[in-house]
Protein backbone atom coordinates (compact mmCIF):
# COMPACT_ATOMS: atom_id res chain seq x y z
CA UNK A 1 0.00 0.00 0.00
CA UNK A 2 1.41 3.35 -0.94
CA UNK A 3 2.02 6.08 1.56
CA UNK A 4 1.69 8.74 -1.10
CA UNK A 5 -1.96 9.19 -0.22
CA UNK A 6 -2.45 12.93 -0.06
CA UNK A 7 -6.21 13.43 0.01
CA UNK A 8 -6.80 15.36 -3.19
CA UNK A 9 -10.32 14.12 -3.94
CA UNK A 10 -13.49 15.94 -2.84
CA UNK A 11 -15.92 14.73 -0.17
CA UNK A 12 -13.70 11.98 1.20
CA UNK A 13 -13.57 9.88 -1.99
CA UNK A 14 -10.60 7.60 -2.45
CA UNK A 15 -9.26 6.32 -5.74
CA UNK A 16 -8.12 2.77 -6.30
CA UNK A 17 -5.63 2.17 -9.09
CA UNK A 18 -4.19 -1.01 -10.52
CA UNK A 19 -1.77 -0.89 -13.44
CA UNK A 20 -1.12 -3.35 -16.24
CA UNK A 21 2.23 -2.76 -17.88
CA UNK A 22 3.33 -4.38 -21.15
CA UNK A 23 7.06 -4.47 -21.66
CA UNK A 24 8.67 -5.52 -24.96
CA UNK A 25 11.68 -7.76 -24.36
CA UNK A 26 14.87 -6.78 -26.19
CA UNK A 27 15.64 -10.22 -27.58
CA UNK A 28 17.25 -10.60 -31.01
CA UNK A 29 14.24 -12.50 -32.40
CA UNK A 30 10.50 -12.83 -31.88
CA UNK A 31 8.87 -15.07 -29.27
CA UNK A 32 7.96 -18.01 -31.49
CA UNK A 33 10.00 -17.55 -34.68
CA UNK A 34 13.43 -16.36 -35.85
CA UNK A 35 12.23 -13.06 -37.36
CA UNK A 36 14.23 -10.05 -36.13
CA UNK A 37 12.73 -8.21 -33.16
CA UNK A 38 13.45 -4.76 -34.51
CA UNK A 39 11.65 -1.43 -34.33
CA UNK A 40 11.50 0.94 -37.29
CA UNK A 41 12.06 -1.39 -40.27
CA UNK A 42 10.03 -1.21 -43.50
CA UNK A 43 6.51 -2.62 -42.88
CA UNK A 44 6.09 -6.39 -43.18
CA UNK A 45 9.76 -7.14 -43.75
CA UNK A 46 10.29 -9.00 -40.45
CA UNK A 47 7.69 -11.67 -41.09
CA UNK A 48 7.61 -15.42 -41.74
CA UNK A 49 4.93 -18.15 -41.94
CA UNK A 50 4.81 -18.45 -38.11
CA UNK A 51 4.12 -14.81 -37.26
CA UNK A 52 1.81 -14.46 -40.28
CA UNK A 53 -0.21 -17.39 -38.97
CA UNK A 54 0.08 -19.32 -42.23
CA UNK A 55 -1.37 -22.83 -42.19
CA UNK A 56 1.04 -25.58 -41.19
CA UNK A 57 3.51 -23.32 -39.40
CA UNK A 58 4.47 -24.16 -35.82
CA UNK A 59 5.80 -21.92 -33.03
CA UNK A 60 8.97 -22.71 -31.04
CA UNK A 61 9.70 -20.70 -27.88
CA UNK A 62 12.70 -18.34 -27.78
CA UNK A 63 14.99 -19.38 -24.90
CA UNK A 64 16.15 -15.79 -24.27
CA UNK A 65 12.57 -14.53 -23.96
CA UNK A 66 11.90 -17.06 -21.21
CA UNK A 67 15.14 -16.17 -19.44
CA UNK A 68 14.38 -12.41 -19.65
CA UNK A 69 10.84 -12.92 -18.37
CA UNK A 70 12.09 -14.93 -15.40
CA UNK A 71 14.81 -12.36 -14.67
CA UNK A 72 12.20 -9.60 -14.55
CA UNK A 73 9.88 -11.79 -12.48
CA UNK A 74 12.56 -12.56 -9.91
CA UNK A 75 13.54 -8.86 -9.74
CA UNK A 76 9.89 -8.24 -8.84
CA UNK A 77 10.17 -10.88 -6.07
CA UNK A 78 7.80 -13.25 -7.86
CA UNK A 79 7.65 -17.02 -7.55
CA UNK A 80 8.55 -18.70 -10.82
CA UNK A 81 6.22 -21.57 -11.65
CA UNK A 82 5.61 -24.23 -14.24
CA UNK A 83 3.69 -22.34 -16.91
CA UNK A 84 1.43 -23.17 -19.82
CA UNK A 85 0.80 -21.05 -22.93
CA UNK A 86 -2.81 -20.39 -23.86
CA UNK A 87 -4.65 -19.03 -26.86
CA UNK A 88 -6.65 -15.85 -26.36
CA UNK A 89 -9.18 -15.88 -29.16
CA UNK A 90 -10.55 -12.71 -30.70
CA UNK A 91 -11.22 -11.21 -34.09
CA UNK A 92 -9.08 -8.22 -34.80
CA UNK A 93 -6.69 -7.86 -37.72
CA UNK A 94 -3.68 -7.02 -35.52
CA UNK A 95 -3.18 -10.78 -35.07
CA UNK A 96 -3.29 -12.77 -38.30
CA UNK A 97 -3.99 -16.03 -36.44
CA UNK A 98 -7.17 -14.59 -34.83
CA UNK A 99 -5.69 -15.45 -31.47
CA UNK A 100 -2.83 -14.19 -29.37
CA UNK A 101 -0.60 -16.66 -27.58
CA UNK A 102 -0.43 -15.66 -23.93
CA UNK A 103 -0.47 -17.37 -20.54
CA UNK A 104 -3.70 -17.68 -18.60
CA UNK A 105 -4.22 -19.74 -15.46
CA UNK A 106 -0.57 -20.82 -15.21
CA UNK A 107 1.66 -17.77 -15.79
CA UNK A 108 5.45 -17.87 -15.42
CA UNK A 109 5.73 -15.37 -12.55
CA UNK A 110 3.21 -14.91 -9.71
CA UNK A 111 2.83 -13.05 -6.40
CA UNK A 112 5.59 -10.49 -6.20
CA UNK A 113 6.03 -6.91 -5.11
CA UNK A 114 7.87 -3.73 -5.90
CA UNK A 115 9.18 -1.15 -3.43
CA UNK A 116 8.61 2.59 -3.97
CA UNK A 117 11.25 5.16 -2.88
CA UNK A 118 9.26 5.91 0.30
CA UNK A 119 9.68 2.27 1.31
CA UNK A 120 6.06 1.22 0.69
CA UNK A 121 5.34 -1.95 -1.29
CA UNK A 122 2.97 -2.46 -4.20
CA UNK A 123 1.81 -6.01 -4.90
CA UNK A 124 2.39 -7.73 -8.25
CA UNK A 125 -0.26 -10.31 -9.09
CA UNK A 126 1.54 -11.89 -12.03
CA UNK A 127 4.05 -11.23 -14.81
CA UNK A 128 3.29 -13.45 -17.77
CA UNK A 129 4.78 -14.00 -21.21
CA UNK A 130 2.81 -13.23 -24.36
CA UNK A 131 3.32 -12.16 -27.94
CA UNK A 132 2.83 -8.59 -29.15
CA UNK A 133 0.31 -7.76 -31.86
CA UNK A 134 0.82 -6.07 -35.23
CA UNK A 135 0.42 -2.36 -35.73
CA UNK A 136 -2.65 -0.91 -37.45
CA UNK A 137 -2.68 2.47 -39.13
CA UNK A 138 -6.09 3.99 -39.61
CA UNK A 139 -6.65 5.77 -42.87
CA UNK A 140 -9.44 8.10 -43.98
CA UNK A 141 -12.31 9.54 -41.95
CA UNK A 142 -10.04 12.22 -40.49
CA UNK A 143 -7.65 9.71 -38.93
CA UNK A 144 -9.66 9.18 -35.76
CA UNK A 145 -9.98 5.50 -35.01
CA UNK A 146 -13.75 5.43 -34.65
CA UNK A 147 -14.22 7.15 -38.04
CA UNK A 148 -11.57 5.29 -40.01
CA UNK A 149 -12.19 4.56 -43.68
CA UNK A 150 -9.93 1.50 -43.66
CA UNK A 151 -6.90 0.15 -41.85
CA UNK A 152 -3.39 -0.85 -42.91
CA UNK A 153 -1.60 -3.53 -40.94
CA UNK A 154 2.12 -4.10 -40.41
CA UNK A 155 3.06 -7.42 -38.78
CA UNK A 156 6.68 -6.60 -37.96
CA UNK A 157 5.66 -6.29 -34.29
CA UNK A 158 3.38 -9.35 -34.32
CA UNK A 159 5.07 -12.03 -32.23
CA UNK A 160 7.56 -9.76 -30.46
CA UNK A 161 7.97 -11.08 -26.89
CA UNK A 162 6.21 -9.17 -24.12
CA UNK A 163 5.94 -9.51 -20.40
CA UNK A 164 2.69 -8.18 -18.98
CA UNK A 165 3.11 -7.10 -15.37
CA UNK A 166 -0.25 -7.04 -13.60
CA UNK A 167 -0.10 -4.94 -10.45
CA UNK A 168 -2.52 -5.32 -7.54
CA UNK A 169 -5.01 -2.48 -6.89
CA UNK A 170 -2.77 -1.12 -4.14
CA UNK A 171 -2.23 2.41 -5.49
CA UNK A 172 -4.30 5.29 -4.10
CA UNK A 173 -3.05 8.41 -5.91
CA UNK A 174 -1.99 9.37 -9.41
CA UNK A 175 1.41 10.32 -8.00
CA UNK A 176 1.87 6.84 -6.49
CA UNK A 177 0.95 5.36 -9.90
CA UNK A 178 3.61 7.50 -11.55
CA UNK A 179 6.18 6.41 -8.96
CA UNK A 180 5.23 2.77 -9.52
CA UNK A 181 5.80 3.06 -13.27
CA UNK A 182 9.12 4.91 -12.74
CA UNK A 183 10.29 2.26 -10.32
CA UNK A 184 9.19 -0.59 -12.58
CA UNK A 185 11.02 1.04 -15.48
CA UNK A 186 14.18 1.41 -13.35
CA UNK A 187 13.98 -2.29 -12.45
CA UNK A 188 13.45 -3.32 -16.08
CA UNK A 189 16.50 -1.28 -17.08
CA UNK A 190 18.56 -2.68 -14.18
CA UNK A 191 17.92 -6.29 -15.24
CA UNK A 192 18.47 -5.24 -18.86
CA UNK A 193 15.51 -6.95 -20.50
CA UNK A 194 14.01 -3.99 -22.39
CA UNK A 195 14.70 -0.36 -23.25
CA UNK A 196 11.28 0.40 -21.65
CA UNK A 197 10.45 3.59 -23.56
CA UNK A 198 6.87 4.72 -23.00
CA UNK A 199 7.08 7.19 -25.89
CA UNK A 200 8.14 4.49 -28.36
CA UNK A 201 5.73 1.89 -27.05
CA UNK A 202 8.29 -0.60 -25.74
CA UNK A 203 6.64 -0.01 -22.35
CA UNK A 204 2.86 0.47 -22.38
CA UNK A 205 0.71 1.23 -19.38
CA UNK A 206 -3.03 0.64 -18.95
CA UNK A 207 -4.64 1.97 -15.78
CA UNK A 208 -7.65 0.46 -14.01
CA UNK A 209 -9.30 3.21 -12.00
CA UNK A 210 -12.25 3.14 -9.61
CA UNK A 211 -13.38 5.27 -6.68
CA UNK A 212 -14.91 4.43 -3.30
CA UNK A 213 -15.30 5.71 0.24
CA UNK A 214 -12.34 4.48 2.30
CA UNK A 215 -13.04 1.07 3.79
CA UNK A 216 -15.89 0.26 1.39
CA UNK A 217 -15.62 -2.49 -1.26
CA UNK A 218 -13.98 -1.58 -4.57
CA UNK A 219 -16.19 0.36 -6.99
CA UNK A 220 -16.74 -0.49 -10.66
CA UNK A 221 -13.55 0.17 -12.58
CA UNK A 222 -12.73 1.60 -15.97
CA UNK A 223 -9.61 0.74 -17.90
CA UNK A 224 -7.73 3.64 -19.51
CA UNK A 225 -5.60 3.09 -22.59
CA UNK A 226 -3.31 5.27 -24.72
CA UNK A 227 -1.09 6.49 -21.89
CA UNK A 228 2.18 7.33 -23.63
CA UNK A 229 4.02 9.20 -20.90
CA UNK A 230 4.14 9.54 -17.12
CA UNK A 231 2.46 12.91 -17.53
CA UNK A 232 -0.46 11.38 -19.45
CA UNK A 233 -0.74 8.63 -16.85
CA UNK A 234 -1.08 11.11 -13.99
CA UNK A 235 -3.47 13.43 -15.81
CA UNK A 236 -5.66 10.59 -17.09
CA UNK A 237 -6.03 9.00 -13.65
CA UNK A 238 -6.95 12.29 -12.00
CA UNK A 239 -9.45 13.10 -14.76
CA UNK A 240 -11.02 9.65 -14.68
CA UNK A 241 -11.44 9.61 -10.89
CA UNK A 242 -13.20 13.00 -10.98
CA UNK A 243 -15.41 11.86 -13.86
CA UNK A 244 -16.52 8.84 -11.83
CA UNK A 245 -17.10 10.91 -8.68
CA UNK A 246 -19.25 13.38 -10.63
CA UNK A 247 -21.37 10.52 -11.98
CA UNK A 248 -21.80 8.87 -8.58
CA UNK A 249 -22.64 12.14 -6.83
CA UNK A 250 -25.26 12.78 -9.52
CA UNK A 251 -26.84 9.46 -8.57
CA UNK A 252 -25.66 7.62 -11.67
CA UNK A 253 -23.67 4.41 -11.86
CA UNK A 254 -20.31 3.57 -13.36
CA UNK A 255 -20.34 1.26 -16.38
CA UNK A 256 -17.32 -1.00 -16.63
CA UNK A 257 -15.64 -0.07 -19.88
CA UNK A 258 -12.42 0.64 -21.69
CA UNK A 259 -11.68 4.33 -22.17
CA UNK A 260 -9.19 6.09 -24.42
CA UNK A 261 -7.10 8.99 -23.05
CA UNK A 262 -6.97 12.00 -25.38
CA UNK A 263 -3.91 14.08 -24.49
CA UNK A 264 -5.17 17.01 -26.58
CA UNK A 265 -8.52 17.56 -24.81
CA UNK A 266 -7.41 16.12 -21.46
CA UNK A 267 -10.33 13.70 -21.21
CA UNK A 268 -11.02 9.97 -21.40
CA UNK A 269 -13.49 8.74 -24.03
CA UNK A 270 -15.52 5.54 -24.28
CA UNK A 271 -13.83 2.93 -26.45
CA UNK A 272 -16.00 -0.11 -25.80
CA UNK A 273 -18.23 -1.40 -23.10
CA UNK A 274 -17.19 -4.52 -21.26
CA UNK A 275 -20.77 -5.44 -20.43
CA UNK A 276 -20.95 -7.71 -23.46
CA UNK A 277 -18.73 -10.03 -21.42
CA UNK A 278 -15.22 -10.50 -22.70
CA UNK A 279 -15.20 -14.04 -23.90
CA UNK A 280 -11.77 -14.93 -25.23
CA UNK A 281 -12.31 -18.69 -24.91
CA UNK A 282 -8.84 -19.25 -23.52
CA UNK A 283 -7.53 -22.76 -23.92
CA UNK A 284 -4.11 -24.41 -23.67
CA UNK A 285 -2.02 -23.80 -26.80
CA UNK A 286 -1.73 -27.29 -28.32
CA UNK A 287 1.34 -26.35 -30.40
CA UNK A 288 3.50 -25.59 -27.35
CA UNK A 289 4.55 -27.65 -24.33
CA UNK A 290 4.78 -26.28 -20.76
CA UNK A 291 7.76 -24.37 -19.37
CA UNK A 292 9.02 -25.95 -16.18
CA UNK A 293 12.20 -24.34 -14.87
CA UNK A 294 14.16 -26.25 -12.25
CA UNK A 295 15.29 -24.78 -8.94
CA UNK A 296 18.80 -24.62 -10.40
CA UNK A 297 17.47 -22.57 -13.35
CA UNK A 298 15.85 -20.10 -10.95
CA UNK A 299 18.98 -19.95 -8.78
CA UNK A 300 21.07 -19.14 -11.87
CA UNK A 301 18.61 -16.36 -12.76
CA UNK A 302 18.81 -14.97 -9.21
CA UNK A 303 22.60 -14.93 -9.40
CA UNK A 304 22.44 -12.86 -12.60
CA UNK A 305 20.35 -10.07 -11.07
CA UNK A 306 22.35 -6.92 -10.22
CA UNK A 307 21.56 -4.77 -7.16
CA UNK A 308 18.09 -3.26 -7.70
CA UNK A 309 17.20 0.43 -7.23
CA UNK A 310 15.56 -0.19 -3.83
CA UNK A 311 18.69 -1.99 -2.55
CA UNK A 312 20.91 0.78 -3.89
CA UNK A 313 18.78 3.47 -2.23
CA UNK A 314 19.03 1.64 1.07
CA UNK A 315 22.79 1.17 0.79
CA UNK A 316 23.39 4.85 0.09
CA UNK A 317 20.88 5.95 2.73
CA UNK A 318 22.66 3.82 5.34
CA UNK A 319 26.05 5.25 4.39
CA UNK A 320 24.74 8.82 4.40
CA UNK A 321 22.59 8.45 7.50
CA UNK A 322 19.40 9.60 5.72
CA UNK A 323 16.03 8.11 4.75
CA UNK A 324 15.98 5.99 1.54
CA UNK A 325 13.75 8.58 -0.18
CA UNK A 326 16.56 11.16 0.19
CA UNK A 327 18.86 8.85 -1.78
CA UNK A 328 16.34 8.34 -4.59
CA UNK A 329 17.67 11.04 -6.92
CA UNK A 330 21.26 9.76 -6.69
CA UNK A 331 20.12 6.26 -7.66
CA UNK A 332 17.84 7.58 -10.39
CA UNK A 333 20.79 9.47 -11.89
CA UNK A 334 22.95 6.37 -11.49
CA UNK A 335 25.34 8.41 -9.32
CA UNK A 336 24.95 6.45 -6.08
CA UNK A 337 28.32 4.77 -6.73
CA UNK A 338 29.95 8.19 -6.93
CA UNK A 339 28.20 9.26 -3.73
CA UNK A 340 29.20 6.13 -1.83
CA UNK A 341 32.89 6.38 -2.73
CA UNK A 342 32.97 10.12 -1.96
CA UNK A 343 31.32 9.57 1.43
CA UNK A 344 33.71 6.73 2.18
CA UNK A 345 36.60 9.08 1.33
CA UNK A 346 35.35 11.39 4.06
CA UNK A 347 33.15 13.87 2.19
CA UNK A 348 30.21 15.30 4.14
CA UNK A 349 27.16 13.18 3.12
CA UNK A 350 24.67 16.08 3.09
CA UNK A 351 26.87 18.11 0.72
CA UNK A 352 27.44 15.04 -1.49
CA UNK A 353 23.70 14.38 -1.85
CA UNK A 354 22.91 18.07 -2.34
CA UNK A 355 25.49 18.46 -5.11
CA UNK A 356 24.22 15.36 -6.90
CA UNK A 357 20.57 16.41 -6.56
CA UNK A 358 21.05 20.06 -7.53
CA UNK A 359 24.20 20.36 -9.60
CA UNK A 360 24.85 17.08 -11.34
CA UNK A 361 21.82 16.66 -13.63
CA UNK A 362 24.26 17.09 -16.50
CA UNK A 363 25.91 14.95 -19.15
CA UNK A 364 29.28 13.66 -18.06
CA UNK A 365 28.45 13.60 -14.35
CA UNK A 366 28.98 9.83 -14.42
CA UNK A 367 32.61 10.38 -15.44
CA UNK A 368 33.35 12.53 -12.42
CA UNK A 369 36.22 11.01 -10.39
CA UNK A 370 34.87 10.21 -6.90
CA UNK A 371 38.20 11.13 -5.24
CA UNK A 372 38.20 14.60 -6.84
CA UNK A 373 34.52 15.06 -5.98
CA UNK A 374 35.33 14.16 -2.35
CA UNK A 375 38.17 16.71 -2.30
CA UNK A 376 35.86 19.41 -3.66
CA UNK A 377 33.34 18.71 -0.90
CA UNK A 378 36.21 18.77 1.60
CA UNK A 379 37.31 22.20 0.37
CA UNK A 380 33.77 23.47 0.73
CA UNK A 381 33.16 22.12 4.23
CA UNK A 382 36.67 23.26 5.24
CA UNK A 383 35.78 26.85 4.36
CA UNK A 384 38.16 27.15 1.39
CA UNK A 385 35.27 27.52 -1.04
CA UNK A 386 31.83 29.05 -0.64
CA UNK A 387 28.78 27.03 -1.74
CA UNK A 388 28.49 29.15 -4.88
CA UNK A 389 32.17 28.71 -5.70
CA UNK A 390 31.96 24.97 -5.10
CA UNK A 391 29.11 24.77 -7.60
CA UNK A 392 31.15 26.63 -10.21
CA UNK A 393 34.21 24.44 -9.62
CA UNK A 394 32.07 21.30 -9.83
CA UNK A 395 30.66 22.30 -13.21
CA UNK A 396 34.20 22.90 -14.45
CA UNK A 397 35.33 19.51 -13.10
CA UNK A 398 32.56 17.74 -15.01
CA UNK A 399 33.51 19.62 -18.16
CA UNK A 400 37.29 19.32 -18.01
CA UNK A 401 38.05 16.49 -15.56
CA UNK A 402 40.60 18.75 -13.79
CA UNK A 403 41.17 18.77 -10.04
CA UNK A 404 39.18 21.15 -7.81
CA UNK A 405 42.42 22.69 -6.47
CA UNK A 406 43.62 23.61 -9.96
CA UNK A 407 40.26 25.10 -10.97
CA UNK A 408 39.90 27.06 -7.73
CA UNK A 409 43.40 28.49 -8.08
CA UNK A 410 42.86 29.42 -11.74
CA UNK A 411 39.62 31.21 -10.93
CA UNK A 412 41.19 32.93 -7.94
CA UNK A 413 38.84 31.17 -5.53
CA UNK A 414 41.04 31.44 -2.52
CA UNK A 415 39.80 31.58 0.99
CA UNK A 416 39.49 35.21 2.16
CA UNK A 417 41.30 35.48 5.39
CA UNK A 418 39.23 37.13 8.06
CA UNK A 419 41.61 40.07 8.32
CA UNK A 420 41.26 41.01 4.65
CA UNK A 421 37.47 40.65 4.82
CA UNK A 422 37.30 42.85 7.92
CA UNK A 423 39.35 45.54 6.19
CA UNK A 424 36.94 45.65 3.28
CA UNK A 425 33.91 45.75 5.59
CA UNK A 426 35.43 48.60 7.63
CA UNK A 427 36.07 50.61 4.47
CA UNK A 428 32.50 50.17 3.32
CA UNK A 429 31.13 51.19 6.71
CA UNK A 430 33.21 54.35 6.57
CA UNK A 431 32.02 55.16 3.03
CA UNK A 432 28.34 54.53 3.80
CA UNK A 433 27.82 55.87 7.31
CA UNK A 434 24.09 56.62 6.84
CA UNK A 435 23.35 53.06 5.69
CA UNK A 436 25.46 51.71 8.53
CA UNK A 437 23.55 53.74 11.10
CA UNK A 438 20.32 52.40 9.65
CA UNK A 439 21.64 48.82 9.86
CA UNK A 440 22.65 49.36 13.47
CA UNK A 441 19.10 50.60 14.19
CA UNK A 442 17.86 47.19 13.12
CA UNK A 443 17.04 47.77 9.44
CA UNK A 444 17.79 44.31 8.09
CA UNK A 445 17.18 45.37 4.49
CA UNK A 446 20.43 47.29 4.48
CA UNK A 447 22.29 44.05 5.26
CA UNK A 448 21.77 43.00 1.64
CA UNK A 449 23.32 46.24 0.47
CA UNK A 450 26.48 45.62 2.49
CA UNK A 451 26.78 41.95 1.54
CA UNK A 452 26.35 42.86 -2.13
CA UNK A 453 29.00 45.57 -1.86
CA UNK A 454 31.44 43.16 -0.19
CA UNK A 455 30.83 40.59 -2.92
CA UNK A 456 31.47 43.20 -5.56
CA UNK A 457 34.67 44.33 -3.88
CA UNK A 458 35.90 40.73 -3.51
CA UNK A 459 34.72 39.57 -6.94
CA UNK A 460 32.46 37.02 -5.31
CA UNK A 461 35.12 35.34 -3.25
CA UNK A 462 33.72 36.22 0.12
CA UNK A 463 31.40 33.79 1.85
CA UNK A 464 28.00 35.49 2.19
CA UNK A 465 27.33 33.88 5.55
CA UNK A 466 30.67 35.00 6.94
CA UNK A 467 30.02 38.60 5.78
CA UNK A 468 26.59 38.68 7.43
CA UNK A 469 28.03 37.32 10.65
CA UNK A 470 30.81 39.93 10.59
CA UNK A 471 28.31 42.77 10.00
CA UNK A 472 26.17 41.63 12.96
CA UNK A 473 29.25 41.32 15.15
CA UNK A 474 30.30 44.88 14.29
CA UNK A 475 26.81 46.33 14.76
CA UNK A 476 26.58 44.81 18.22
CA UNK A 477 30.10 45.85 19.21
Amino acid sequence: MSDTSAATLPNGWEMVIGLEVHCELSTATKLFCGCPNQFGNEPNTNVCPVCLGLPGSLPVVNASAVEYAMRLGRALHCDVHRSVFARKNYFYPDMPKDYQVSQYDLPTNVEGWLELPDGSRVGIERAHIEEDTGKSTHVGGGGRIHEAGYSLVDYNRAGVPLVEIVGKPDLRTAEAARQYVSELRAIILAVDVSDAKMEEGSMRVDANVSVRRPGEPFGTRCEIKNLNSLRSLGRAIDYEARRQIDLLEAGERIIQQTRHWDEADGRTHTLRSKEEAEDYRYFAEPDLVPLDPTEADVAAIDASIPPLPADRRRALADAAGVEPAAAAMCVERDLDGLALVAIEAGAAPDRVLTHIDNNLAVDGADRLAPALFARLVGMETGGELTATQAKTVLADMVETGRSPEEIAAERGFEAMDTGALEGIVDELIAEHSDEWASFCDGNQKVAGFFVGAVMKATKGQADGKAVTALLRQKAEA
Partner: protein, 100 residues
Protein backbone atom coordinates in the same frame (compact mmCIF):
# COMPACT_ATOMS: atom_id res chain seq x y z
CA UNK B 1 -30.34 -34.63 -16.49
CA UNK B 2 -30.61 -31.33 -18.40
CA UNK B 3 -29.50 -31.01 -22.01
CA UNK B 4 -25.69 -30.60 -22.17
CA UNK B 5 -25.92 -27.39 -24.17
CA UNK B 6 -28.79 -25.05 -25.03
CA UNK B 7 -29.66 -23.66 -28.43
CA UNK B 8 -28.90 -20.14 -27.09
CA UNK B 9 -25.43 -21.22 -25.99
CA UNK B 10 -24.72 -22.63 -29.42
CA UNK B 11 -25.86 -19.35 -30.97
CA UNK B 12 -23.54 -17.45 -28.60
CA UNK B 13 -20.53 -19.62 -29.45
CA UNK B 14 -21.32 -19.31 -33.16
CA UNK B 15 -21.44 -15.54 -32.80
CA UNK B 16 -18.03 -15.50 -31.04
CA UNK B 17 -16.60 -17.58 -33.89
CA UNK B 18 -18.21 -15.24 -36.45
CA UNK B 19 -20.36 -18.08 -37.85
CA UNK B 20 -23.79 -17.29 -39.29
CA UNK B 21 -26.00 -20.31 -38.72
CA UNK B 22 -29.54 -20.89 -40.02
CA UNK B 23 -32.27 -22.08 -37.64
CA UNK B 24 -31.93 -25.60 -39.00
CA UNK B 25 -28.15 -25.54 -38.54
CA UNK B 26 -28.58 -24.29 -34.98
CA UNK B 27 -30.81 -27.26 -34.15
CA UNK B 28 -28.45 -29.62 -35.91
CA UNK B 29 -25.31 -28.40 -34.10
CA UNK B 30 -27.08 -28.21 -30.74
CA UNK B 31 -27.74 -31.97 -31.07
CA UNK B 32 -24.23 -32.74 -32.31
CA UNK B 33 -22.42 -30.67 -29.67
CA UNK B 34 -24.77 -32.20 -27.09
CA UNK B 35 -23.55 -35.68 -28.06
CA UNK B 36 -19.92 -34.59 -27.71
CA UNK B 37 -20.62 -33.09 -24.30
CA UNK B 38 -22.47 -36.25 -23.22
CA UNK B 39 -19.23 -38.09 -23.77
CA UNK B 40 -17.40 -35.46 -21.68
CA UNK B 41 -19.93 -36.11 -18.90
CA UNK B 42 -18.89 -39.76 -18.88
CA UNK B 43 -15.30 -38.65 -18.29
CA UNK B 44 -16.36 -36.10 -15.68
CA UNK B 45 -18.06 -38.88 -13.74
CA UNK B 46 -14.65 -40.45 -13.00
CA UNK B 47 -12.76 -39.47 -9.86
CA UNK B 48 -9.75 -37.55 -11.21
CA UNK B 49 -8.78 -35.78 -7.99
CA UNK B 50 -5.37 -37.48 -8.01
CA UNK B 51 -4.71 -36.83 -11.69
CA UNK B 52 -2.74 -33.67 -12.52
CA UNK B 53 -4.25 -31.59 -15.35
CA UNK B 54 -2.76 -32.40 -18.73
CA UNK B 55 -1.34 -29.39 -20.58
CA UNK B 56 -0.16 -31.41 -23.56
CA UNK B 57 -0.44 -35.03 -24.66
CA UNK B 58 3.34 -35.35 -24.91
CA UNK B 59 5.30 -35.46 -21.65
CA UNK B 60 7.65 -32.75 -22.84
CA UNK B 61 8.64 -29.47 -21.21
CA UNK B 62 11.02 -26.60 -22.03
CA UNK B 63 11.24 -27.07 -25.78
CA UNK B 64 13.23 -23.96 -26.64
CA UNK B 65 15.20 -22.58 -29.55
CA UNK B 66 18.30 -20.33 -29.45
CA UNK B 67 17.64 -16.60 -29.93
CA UNK B 68 19.11 -16.46 -33.44
CA UNK B 69 17.75 -14.58 -36.44
CA UNK B 70 16.42 -16.69 -39.32
CA UNK B 71 15.62 -15.55 -42.86
CA UNK B 72 12.33 -13.70 -43.33
CA UNK B 73 9.91 -13.85 -46.24
CA UNK B 74 10.10 -11.61 -49.30
CA UNK B 75 7.57 -8.83 -48.87
CA UNK B 76 6.33 -8.84 -52.45
CA UNK B 77 5.66 -12.55 -52.15
CA UNK B 78 3.77 -11.96 -48.88
CA UNK B 79 1.70 -9.12 -50.32
CA UNK B 80 0.83 -11.21 -53.36
CA UNK B 81 -1.10 -13.54 -50.98
CA UNK B 82 -3.16 -10.71 -49.50
CA UNK B 83 -6.67 -9.88 -50.78
CA UNK B 84 -5.70 -6.19 -50.64
CA UNK B 85 -2.55 -4.28 -49.83
CA UNK B 86 -1.21 -0.72 -49.89
CA UNK B 87 2.31 0.64 -49.28
CA UNK B 88 3.62 -2.78 -48.23
CA UNK B 89 0.85 -3.21 -45.68
CA UNK B 90 -2.24 -5.40 -45.50
CA UNK B 91 -5.37 -3.39 -46.23
CA UNK B 92 -8.33 -4.42 -44.09
CA UNK B 93 -11.84 -3.06 -43.40
CA UNK B 94 -12.03 -0.35 -40.72
CA UNK B 95 -12.26 -1.64 -37.19
CA UNK B 96 -14.12 -0.07 -34.30
CA UNK B 97 -12.00 0.82 -31.32
CA UNK B 98 -8.72 -0.75 -30.31
CA UNK B 99 -7.46 -4.26 -29.90
CA UNK B 100 -8.49 -6.01 -26.70
Amino acid sequence: MSAPISRDEVAHVANLARLQLTDDELDHFTDQLGAVLEHARDVAALDTSDVPPTAHPYELTNVLRPDEVRPTLDRDEVMAQAPASEDGMFRVPPVLGEAP
